[in-house]
């Protein structure tokens, strides 16, 4: 059964021991951010719910990274048992994403909802009345958009995009943000901007967790995240019309910011400690949002991720969402892949794929399909292993990488690829222009090697001893004096 709102999810996290209510006063200026970061760096640690934020009314709260530091909280969000092993959970969540995409459910439009309990327009608009955090020391500003869903609509069709693009406060009614050039919101905005038209937007903060999670996904061009969220939830997302534009937002959202993105206008935004684990992109001219209206629930609960080194919500949820998209792209091409792991610990720059090898150089084909699909936009390195190695077993993968990947013949580079301003290994000029490069590491045995003489037998318990010896040893393990 899907959660109806953010508050139900918070209650469930607390029941599962995955939440700490912080009643002591906490400063929005770096203190809250550093607490969230500490939680994100604690494996399977709980999320902090700040109930007493310095300078803000009682009742104004903020939940720090509800999907951090492991997959348990994301499993709870998806309605899966929190105590399932990591690999099972990750695969089950990717299957859920596949099902949601294959069986979308259109949203249900409702007349009103909790997000309309307070409606602020005109002189009443002041975004500083909400506890936006100064997350990292040295950031370009306070980020009201650090875990949210921004809604925009295509100018030429009915396609509605949901995405999570960082949003910084310039002043009480002006915001700025980073949107990558390959992201759907950027392609939508370019159409408005060509005609010098403002693009309506609505940003919902504090939604049911699947709405939040799908906003991190990278769905194919033209697919509405709202429909896929319905498919994952197995029931429609309830949406309500905005006050000042024709967009629709989740009716139970804690806070909704409505407005428009100004055409042909840029203001300096950032820098920001990003999901790559670094503050790689500089303060630079970026898009500007003007606020037309703010609606919110009574005693609103905001949300924020303190991005940085893995594992944050971005890494966990995008590992699932982007991972399932990559797996689908490979399967759609009929490739005999077994498993895909878009590794959260690598900030999603590395994807590992296991495959059967029916023909030469399949690794390079796998790599190029990943680099060419939407879900693989930000993957810069691909490791391809044989089907006897699980991409989730990083020790086995690194062993294969070190021993089976020929440094020259097994390394396939694409030196002139599309990049991303947030990638740390690119130089300043490459980051400015989103010039990238990508690489595939082929860790499979070449099929043109004679198996009997050229492929070295693997020396492990499971592979270099006869089956009957393995079974005998396992059956007698405790008799030998070992505990397990």
């Amino acid at each position: 059964m899907a959660f109806n709102d953010f508050r139900e999810f918070i209650d469930k996290l607390e029941k599962e021991g995955q939440l700490v209510r912080i009643k002591q006063e906490v400063d929005w200026n770096l203190e809250a951010g550093s607490i969230i970061r500490k939680c994100e760096e604690t494996p399977d640690g709980p999320s902090p719910l700040f109930e007493n934020i310095k300078g803000y009314p009682k009742g104004y709260r903020l939940l720090g990274d509800p999907f951090s530091s492991g997959i348990k909280k994301a499993a709870i969000a998806a309605g899966l048992p929190a105590d399932m092993p990591y690999v099972e959970t990750h695969k089950a969540m990717m299957d859920l994403w596949d099902e949601g995409l294959a069986n979308p459910i259109k949203p249900k439009i409702v007349k009103s909802g909790p997000c309309k309990e307070n409606i602020l327009k005109g002189d009443k608009i002041n975004i500083y009345n909400f506890p936006a955090l100064m997350l990292h020391e040295g950031d370009g500003g306070r980020y009201i958009g650090a875990l949210h869903t921004t809604v925009t609509k295509d100018l030429d069709s009915d396609w509605v995009n949901w995405g999570c693009y960082r949003i910084m406060i310039h002043n009480k009614n002006t915001l700025g943000g980073f949107v990558g050039p390959q992201q759907h919101m950027a392609s939508m905005f370019s159409k408005y901007e060509e005609k010098n038209m403002p693009m309506p937007f609505a940003t919902a903060i504090g939604t049911d967790p699947i709405v939040q999670a799908i906003s991190f996904s990278s769905l194919p061009y033209g697919v509405d995240e709202a429909d896929v969220a319905g498919g994952i939830r197995k029931q429609p997302v309830e949406l309500v019309k905005c006050e000042t534009n024709d967009l629709y937002v989740p009716a139970t959202a804690e806070v909704v910011i409505e407005g428009h993105v100004l055409p042909n206008v840029r203001m300096d935004e950032g820098p920001f400690g990003e999901y790559s684990g670094y503050r790689a992109s500089p303060r630079a001219p970026r898009i500007v949002y003007k606020i037309d209206c703010i609606t919110h629930r009574n005693d609103p609960i905001l949300a924020a991720v303190c991005e940085g080194v893995p594992i944050t919500a971005s890494h966990t949820v995008q590992s699932v969402g982007w991972g399932s998209g990559i797996r689908k792209a490979l399967r759609d091409e009929g490739l005999p892949i077994v498993e895909v792991n878009l590794v959260p610990e690598t900030a999603l720059f590395l994807c590992i794929v296991s495959t059967k090898v029916p023909y030469c150089n399949i690794a390079e084909r796998i790599g190029h399909i990943i680099f060419g699909c939407k879900a693989g936009t930000y993957v810069m390195k691909v490791i391809v292993v044989d089907d006897d190695i699980s991409p989730y077993n990083l020790a086995e993968v690194f062993h294969a990488f070190a021993t089976k990947c020929h440094p020259v013949r097994g390394t396939h580079t694409s030196p002139y690829a599309t990049g991303n301003p947030l990638i740390p290994f690119q130089n300043l000029e490459e980051r400015l222009w989103s010039k990238g490069c990508r690489v595939v590491y082929d860790c499979t045995w070449p099929i043109d090697w004679p198996a009997e003489i050229a492929v070295p037998p693997r020396s492990s318990f499971n592979s270099i001893f006869p089956k009957h010896i393995q079974e005998k040893v396992l059956a007698n393990w405790k008799n030998y004096g070992f505990k397990d």
Partner: protein, 80 residues
């Protein structure tokens, strides 16, 4: 009591000392952006009645010593 502000620069050479310059600064009480006409100096001694101006480079790294700033005029919050 002196107020505290900061500004982002590519290099320190972006800030011309002793001249009236237009500058985008942040009020460090709430990080609101302000555009101002101001005079800045690298040494507080040259602006004894000035406020504190911290300098950050484009990726957020803080210059170790604060500068001083005297705001001559607050400019409208114009969008460039």
């Amino acid at each position: 009591m002196a107020k505290e502000y900061d500004t982002f620069v590519e290099t320190l050479a972006d800030l011309k000392e002793g001249e009236e310059i237009e500058l985008s600064i942040r009020n460090l009480e709430n990080y609101e952006a302000q555009n101002v006409k101001a005079i800045v100096y690298s040494s507080k001694e040259n602006l004894p009645d000035g406020d504190t101006l911290w300098i950050r480079f484009s990726r957020g790294v803080k210059h170790k010593e604060p500068w001083a700033i005297k705001i001559i005029e607050e400019l409208p919050f114009s969008i460039i």
